[in-house]
C-alpha cells in the first residue's frame, strides 16, 4: 500500500468518524472581547493550548464598548438557552450571573488541582459561588501603579518616586514650576475612578478602603478620611493638563513616554504600551506603587456558563484546567503584561515591574492589605460602581466641595443598594 493510499484511507476514515464524534478534549465556545494587540495574542495562546489537547475551539470575539456589546450578546444567548461555554466575565458580575442560575461549577477540577492553595484568597472568593468555583482567573493586574519618566524627573531634581501623597504633591509643584505637566490623565469616568480608589487606598489604608469601598459602610463613606481623600483628588485635578477630557489611557501613557508629562497613575496594562514602544523598565520608565503599602487587585477571568452535552461539559473542564495550568499562565501573562493569578508560577521571564508586583502581592496577602478594585469591576456590583463613577467624575470635572461629594456619594450608594 502506498503512502498516498494509506493517507486517503485515513482521511476517509476520519471523515466518517468526525461527524457526531466528540473531540478528545471536548468543545468550547469562548465569548470574549480581547480583539486588539497584546490581548488578542494572549487569547490566541489559550486557543492554541486548547487545540493542542485535541479540543475544538469556537471563537466568539465581540468587540466594542469595552465589553458592553459582548454582554448584550451574552444576555440574548442565555435567554435563548444557548450560552457559550466560557465568557470573559469578572468580579461581582460572576455572582450576578450565578444568582440567575446560569453558571456551571468546575469544583471537581478545582479540588483535584487544589486551586485554593495557589490563588490569593481574596481572588478565590470572587471566583466562587456558594463555595464552588464557577470561574477561573487568568491573570492579576495591579491597579495602584505610578508610572514615571526618569528623564523628566531628573530635569527638576527628583531622584526618588514619591512614597506618600504629600511627597507626590511636592513633586508636582516642582514640575509645575518648571512648566511640565505633573500628571498625564485621561478624563474618562473609569480613569477618574482609578485615580480615586488609589488615593483612598493611600489616604485611608487597606482596612479603610475595604470598609468604605467594598463593604460600602455609610459611616466610612461620610468619614473625615473620605473627605481628605477627595481633597487629595482635588489636588490631583490641578496636576493634569487642560486638555485631558475624554483622552484614552494609552494616549496619556504616550505623554509620559514623550516627556510631555512626568507621572501617570494607571494599572499595569500601561506597561504594555511602554514595552511595545521599545522602552526599558528602570531605564526609560519607572514603576512604583501608589502610596499606601497595599495592593489593588484587578483580574480577568473566564466564567463557565451552563452548557449541556458530554462533549461541551468535557470541553469546559479541560479549559478550566488549562487556564489554571502554570505553563499557560506564564505565556498568557507575558503577552498581556500582567502577572499570573497563581502565586506559585516562576517569573524568570518577566520584567522588574512584574517581579515587584508579584513580591508585593505575596506581602499583601500576608499582611491582609490586598483589596479588590472598584473601578475595574472587582469589588462591587455594576449598579454601585456606576454611582461611584458618576460621582467621582462629576467631582473631578466641577468645583464640588469634598464635603458635598461624600454626602452625594453616600446617597448614591444607598440608592443603588436598594435595587
Amino acid at each position: 500500500m502506498s503512502i498516498l493510499n494509506r493517507l486517503l484511507a485515513a482521511t476517509a476514515l476520519a471523515a466518517m468518524i468526525v461527524p457526531g464524534t466528540a473531540y478528545a478534549g471536548g468543545t468550547v465556545e469562548v465569548l470574549h472581547w480581547w480583539t486588539s494587540g497584546g490581548e488578542a495574542k494572549a487569547v490566541g495562546e489559550l486557543k492554541k493550548a486548547f487545540e493542542a489537547q485535541g479540543g475544538k475551539w469556537i471563537d466568539s470575539p465581540i468587540a466594542g464598548g469595552g465589553g458592553d456589546a459582548a454582554m448584550t450578546a451574552l444576555r440574548a444567548r442565555v435567554m435563548a438557552g444557548n450560552p457559550p461555554a466560557a465568557v470573559q466575565l469578572k468580579g461581582p458580575g460572576i455572582q450576578e450571573w450565578a444568582k440567575q442560575g446560569a453558571l456551571n461549577d468546575v469544583q471537581d477540577v478545582a479540588s483535584k488541582e487544589n486551586w485554593d492553595s495557589v490563588l490569593p484568597p481574596v481572588l478565590a472568593a470572587i471566583m466562587k459561588y456558594e463555595g464552588k468555583y464557577v470561574a477561573a482567573p487568568v491573570n492579576i493586574h495591579r491597579v495602584d501603579w505610578i508610572w514615571a519618566n526618569p528623564q523628566v524627573l531628573a530635569k527638576v531634581g527628583i531622584t526618588e518616586m514619591p512614597k506618600t501623597w504629600d511627597e507626590f504633591n511636592a513633586d508636582a509643584e516642582k514640575l509645575k514650576a518648571a512648566g511640565i505637566t505633573p500628571l498625564a490623565h485621561g478624563g474618562q469616568p473609569w480613569q477618574d475612578a482609578t485615580i480615586f480608589e488609589d488615593v483612598v487606598l493611600g489616604v485611608g489604608g487597606a482596612a479603610f478602603y475595604r470598609k468604605a469601598i467594598v463593604e460600602l459602610d455609610q459611616g466610612a463613606l461620610t468619614s473625615d478620611t473620605m473627605i481628605r481623600s477627595f481633597d487629595q483628588l482635588r489636588k490631583l485635578r490641578g496636576d493634569v493638563d487642560p486638555n485631558f477630557s475624554g483622552r484614552d489611557w494609552n494616549l496619556a501613557t504616550a505623554m509620559v513616554m514623550k516627556g510631555e508629562a512626568a507621572f501617570q497613575i494607571m494599572g499595569d496594562w500601561a506597561k504594555g504600551e511602554f514595552l511595545a514602544a521599545g522602552k526599558k523598565p528602570g531605564v526609560d520608565f519607572l514603576c512604583s506603587p501608589t502610596p499606601g503599602g497595599a495592593f489593588n487587585l484587578n483580574s480577568d477571568s473566564f466564567t463557565f456558563f451552563k452548557v449541556k452535552g458530554a462533549d461541551r461539559l468535557e470541553g469546559q473542564k479541560v479549559l478550566a484546567s488549562l487556564i489554571m495550568s502554570p505553563g499557560f499562565q506564564e505565556t498568557f501573562n507575558l503577552a498581556k503584561g500582567s502577572i499570573p493569578a497563581r502565586t506559585d508560577v516562576k517569573l524568570d521571564k518577566f520584567d522588574s515591574c512584574a517581579l515587584k508586583s508579584q513580591a508585593d502581592l505575596v506581602a499583601a496577602i500576608k499582611s491582609d492589605s490586598l483589596v479588590p478594585s472598584m473601578a475595574h469591576e472587582m469589588a462591587v456590583p455594576r449598579t454601585v460602581r456606576g454611582e461611584f463613577l458618576d460621582l467621582v467624575t462629576n467631582f473631578f470635572n466641577s468645583d464640588m466641595t469634598s464635603a458635598e461629594a461624600v454626602k452625594q456619594l453616600a446617597a448614591g450608594v444607598k440608592r443603588a443598594q436598594m435595587q
Binding site: G65, D68, M71, T72, R75, V78, M79, G93, E96, W97, Q100, G187, Q188, P189, D192, P242, N243, F244, S245, G246, P381, R382, T383, R385, G386, D390, T393, N394, F396, N397, S398, Q408, G412, R415, M418, Q419
Partner: protein, 300 residues
C-alpha cells in the same frame, strides 16, 4: 366545466381584493410585534426590579422613584432642554436665512445648495468626530489661533463642563440647518409669483414681503421642520457619543445616553426602561397633538 371556470374567476376576484392586505400583513404583524410589542415589554420592565436579566415580578413605581432621585437624570433632562430648544431655534433660523438668500435667483445656486445640504449626508458619528477634532483645544481652533500668534485666544468649550453641551448644539446645527434650508426653499418656491409681484406693486420692501407675506404662507413648513428637528433632538445619541462621549464627566449626558449606560454598562434594565418610558412620553407629548391636528384637518 363552465361552473369550474366561474368558480376560479370568483377565487381570482377574491384573491385580487385580498392581495394588498396579504402583502401588507406580514409587515403589519412585524411592526406590531417589534415596535409596539417591545414598547409594551419595556413599559412592563420599567415596573419591575430587573437588573442584569429581566425579572418579571412587578415592583410598583420603585424604578421611577430611583430615576427621579438620580442627579444624573436631571443633568440629562436639563441638557435635553438646552439642546432641543437651541437646536430647533438655530436650525430653523439659519435654515430660513439661507433659504431666503438662495431664493434671490443667484448664480450657481445648485452648487451652493448642494454644499449646504451635504452635511446632512454625513452620519452624526462623522460630524461628531470631525467637530471633536475641530473644537479640541490642543488640536483645533484654539491651537490654530495660538500658532497664528493670538496667545490669549481661548476656546475650550469642549472640555469645559459648563459649556460642553453648547458644542453639541454647534455640531448639530451645522449638520441639520442645511436640511431646514432645503425644506424652506421648496416652500418659498411654491409661493405664487403673482403674490410677490402684487406686494412689490403695493410698495412692500423685501423684508416686509418675507416677514409679512411669504413666511406666513409657508407656515406648514415650520410645523414639519419642528417635528423633524424635535425628534432628532430627543433621540440624539450618536452625536453626543462621538463628540463628547457624554463628558466631561457626565456633563453632556442626554436621556438616550443615560438609558444606554444604565441598560448596557450598569446592568440596571429596570431603571433604563423607566428612562426610556419617560423619553417615549416626551415624544408622545409632541407627536400626539400634531397627529391630532393633522387628522382633524384631513377629515375636514
Amino acid at each position: 366545466m363552465l361552473s369550474g371556470r366561474k368558480r376560479s374567476s370568483t377565487v381570482w376576484v377574491l384573491f385580487e381584493r385580498w392581495l394588498p392586505k396579504i402583502v401588507v400583513s406580514p409587515l403589519f404583524a412585524a411592526s406590531l410585534f417589534f415596535v409596539y410589542g417591545f414598547i409594551a415589554w419595556t413599559v412592563y420592565i420599567s415596573f419591575t426590579r430587573s437588573g442584569v436579566m429581566p425579572n418579571y415580578e412587578l415592583a410598583g413605581l420603585s424604578q421611577y422613584v430611583r430615576l427621579w432621585s438620580t442627579p444624573r437624570w436631571y443633568v440629562a433632562l436639563t441638557n435635553l432642554f438646552i439642546f432641543t430648544s437651541l437646536f430647533i431655534v438655530f436650525c430653523t433660523g439659519i435654515g430660513i436665512m439661507l433659504a431666503i438668500l438662495l431664493d434671490q435667483r443667484i448664480r450657481i445656486e445648485g452648487a451652493i445648495r448642494t454644499i449646504y445640504l451635504y452635511p446632512m449626508a454625513l452620519s452624526f458619528i462623522v460630524t461628531g468626530t470631525a467637530w471633536k477634532w475641530i473644537l479640541n483645544p490642543g488640536l483645533g481652533i484654539e491651537r490654530l489661533a495660538h500658532t497664528l500668534g493670538f496667545m490669549n485666544f481661548h476656546f475650550d468649550w469642549l472640555v469645559n463642563p459648563d459649556m460642553a453641551i453648547y458644542t453639541v448644539v454647534i455640531a448639530g446645527v451645522w449638520q441639520s440647518s442645511g436640511y431646514v434650508m432645503a425644506l424652506f426653499l421648496a416652500g418659498l418656491r411654491s409661493v405664487d409669483d403673482e403674490i410677490i409681484r402684487a406686494a412689490a406693486i403695493d410698495g412692500a420692501g423685501p423684508l416686509r414681503t418675507y416677514a409679512g407675506i411669504i413666511l406666513p404662507i409657508v407656515r406648514p413648513m415650520f410645523l414639519s421642520s419642528f417635528i423633524i428637528l424635535a425628534h432628532l433632538a430627543i433621540k440624539s445619541f450618536d452625536l453626543v457619543i462621538a463628540l463628547t462621549g457624554g463628558g466631561p464627566g457626565y456633563a453632556t449626558d442626554m436621556p438616550a445616553t443615560f438609558m444606554y449606560s444604565f441598560a448596557f454598562q450598569r446592568s440596571e434594565l429596570g431603571t433604563a426602561a423607566a428612562s426610556a418610558v419617560m423619553m417615549l412620553v416626551t415624544i408622545l407629548a409632541i407627536i400626539v397633538p400634531y397627529l391630532y391636528s393633522e387628522l382633524r384637518e384631513a377629515k375636514r
